[in-house]
Symmetry: C2
Subunit: 434 residues, 2 copies
């Protein structure tokens, strides 16, 4: 049985108890969220070494890191390094987006599953298309059987959540064509399926045979993440009719997943101007009846390649404040190439900053206390404590070391003119150190 | 005559014409903003090589970079490097915050003034205190004469804008003491003056003799930047009674500066939770009657040393969307030490991203067109154009080069599974390249 079916029966599972413990909330709150569909626990019954997290309303905002091989970088060892770094940096989940060729995709995924204690997601259509090219010579020759066979194969391997672009349909593509866009489709999965639909002149099997997908998801308790294949790839395309049409369809599919007792969340944009972000979140919450919202960014400008972890942290903060539950990281390498391990670390930390800045506002348990502890350590010029409390202690320690001579009490920014020291003398509150 | 007095007389100056040209707005709009006090043009009559910018309502959001020597890093050459890097990275102004000892401060400032084509700001109380220590043995022994002498000396050197903490008064300190804070005072200038006031038991000369300050400012056309010495240094202290009391006083001083025909802006926080930022901007605009607002950050969490350019870009975007006009950069080294030249570059670009993300929403001229041009270049896989349009072409080029084999058309993130390429084939729009 899936977590949602267990919760409906009034059962509490060890996954529910574990996530409740980690969040510092009651298991009843978790179970209630599962029943309502506002909370999911991606936890495939075959992901043996998983330490689960819950994603959804009232909980800490979670962060995902994308890893995986690609055409020009097929080395799985480098991706396993990224997995380790991402988890060390605080990622709550990873997605294996490997497109390195052929059978290596199975092997990569199995290596990642075996190593990952965090939830692992995939986009099965990637593997379907790559196998179709190898077996049939072209992406557009893949068959519905190919699709469901790969989905089941990945489910058997223990994948906790899967992105499926079921909202790319004859209808939403027609709306896209009427819309007219600057960057058309920037989702890889979305582009594969659009190519297939236009070439075959048939409906998307992931929409047409959605029940078949739900059966597999139910059997393994795979959380369905309804992908936004028509997400805007530039500010100019944001919140347009194609995007919202797809979201309406995804909302209908949320209903169907819930009816089938399958855990489901919805994915969202993308490139969105700052003043449209709140509307994007609110409309997802209404159209998808409160399903957890998993966003990529949003990136608040198109012009900052090399800094898209920052453009995303800006948009991600506002998105999470407005109700987004799960942030997909974006690294500094976005739009330029596959991220290095260092890019992965920067991307995870930037997304965690956005998530935490929002959690302070959402009133998430423990969020405010963390900042307060840091403020007190700063006031006390207690450097060890500041570093221990830092969101990335490794970088904080390195900066402190590189930018300061050894043994000084203050820091080199103000040197002996440290405001903390001067005020402590004159306001009559001796400092805890010095 | 100051820019504001010229505008009141209906004159247009070459500075007004130049900034109008750079903004793509009419000189009448600039003159009207000067008359209302919603726009300033920091342009000391003795800063010969200045290419001025205007700061205020209806204009592009501007960015300042702090540079300057400090106790442990007294080398001015390194700070001149930072000046060059900051301007290259797109800073609209720099502040020379040098506190390297004694006469070197004059020398540093003069070197910086001579090299800077952007507006230069200072915090004269830094030099006053350092000279007081050398001449009189202690910060608290500085005299009002010392203060005004340094202010005039710096004005004569051509400093375009000066931060003065005139809102630190017996009244605002009393409110601070009643308030109770976690991090008390984190402003250096604020702490010097608080130390002096508490030790001497006298009113702040920069408040008490504000007219004397205005006379100097008027003579040289120095723009007064009313410093927020009581800005919160942690989320826990944000938007408290001490901060707002000081802002009320600064609002009154704005009136007096305008009466004297002196250009004036107001400085703002600091560490502020995301959901308090808009209120901070709106209340400044009412209390200070629309004076340009110059904010530091705001930083939306305390826990991210090593990443405070990101915490600031998040807060700075929302602040600028809500009406802030001028963003002071924060570098990754904030709270850890004096920034390196590389930190300066990262800080400037992060602040520019925040400013631009807000300008897209503010409807600033040219902002939307920039993103649209990038989106089109991206769709066309035109890498040269993407790099040329990047907010930091140097970093974008380096990333592209490091993360991709030579001569590939797509990028290594998706490799041959590039959505842009696939969709172009199937939607029947051949790509401009490849």
């Amino acid at each position: 049985m899936t977590q949602i079916l267990e919760a409906r029966k009034g059962n509490t599972t060890r996954q529910m108890r574990r996530v409740a413990e980690k969040e510092g909330v009651s298991v009843e709150q978790i179970a209630e969220g599962l029943v309502k569909g506002t909370v999911v626990i991606p936890a495939n019954r075959y992901h043996a070494n998983l330490d689960p997290v819950a994603i959804g309303t009232g909980l800490r905002t979670k962060v995902n890191a994308n890893i995986g091989t690609s055409t020009y970088f097929p080395d799985i060892e480098r991706e396993l390094d990224k997995l380790r770094l991402a988890v060390e940096a605080g990622a709550d989940a990873v997605m294996d987006l490997s497109t390195g060729s052929g059978l290596d995709i199975d092997r990569s995924r199995r290596r990642i599953m075996a190593a990952a204690t965090v939830a692992v997601g995939t986009v099965p259509i990637y593997q379907v298309t790559i196998e179709a090219i190898e077996k049939r010579g072209s992406i557009v020759e893949m068959t519905p059987e190919d699709m469901f066979e790969v989905i089941e194969r990945q489910a058997k391997d223990g994948v906790d959540f899967m992105t499926v672009h079921s909202g790319i349909t004859l209808e939403s593509i027609a709306r896209l064509q009427k819309q007219g866009r600057v960057t058309d489709i920037v989702s890889r999965g979305g582009s594969f399926l659009t190519g297939w639909i236009l070439h075959q002149g048939k409906e998307n099997p992931l929409y047409d045979q959605f029940d078949r997908l739900l059966e597999i998801a139910q059997e393994y308790d795979v959380t369905i993440s309804l992908g936004d294949g028509l997400r805007p790839g530039s500010l100019a395309d944001a919140t347009d009719r194609a995007q919202i049409q797809e979201l309406i369809i995804l909302g209908e599919l949320v209903d169907r997943a819930r009816e089938a007792g399958v855990q489901v969340m919805v994915e969202g944009p993308g490139h969105v101007p700052f003043d449209q972000i709140e509307a994007n979140i609110k409309i997802q919450k209404t159209l998808a009846k409160g399903a957890p919202f998993y966003v990529l960014g949003p990136l608040v400008t198109d012009v900052a390649p090399g800094y898209d972890h920052i453009t995303s942290a800006i948009g991600g903060t506002l998105a999470a404040v407005a109700g987004a539950d799960f942030l997909c990281y974006v690294t500094p390498a976005e739009h330029l190439g596959l991220p290095t391990p260092e890019d992965v670390r920067e991307g995870v930390v930037a997304a965690r900053i956005a998530a935490h800045a929002a959690d302070l506002v959402k009133g998430v348990k423990g969020a405010w206390e963390w900042d307060l502890a840091m403020a007190k350590a700063r006031k006390a010029l207690d450097w060890d404590k500041q570093i221990a409390l830092a969101i990335d202690p490794v970088k904080a320690r390195r900066y402190r070391k590189e930018r300061n001579p050894e043994g000084i009490v203050e820091c080199t920014m103000c040197g002996k003119y440290c405001a903390m020291k001067i005020v402590a003398e004159h306001l009559g509150k001796p400092m805890e150190v010095c």
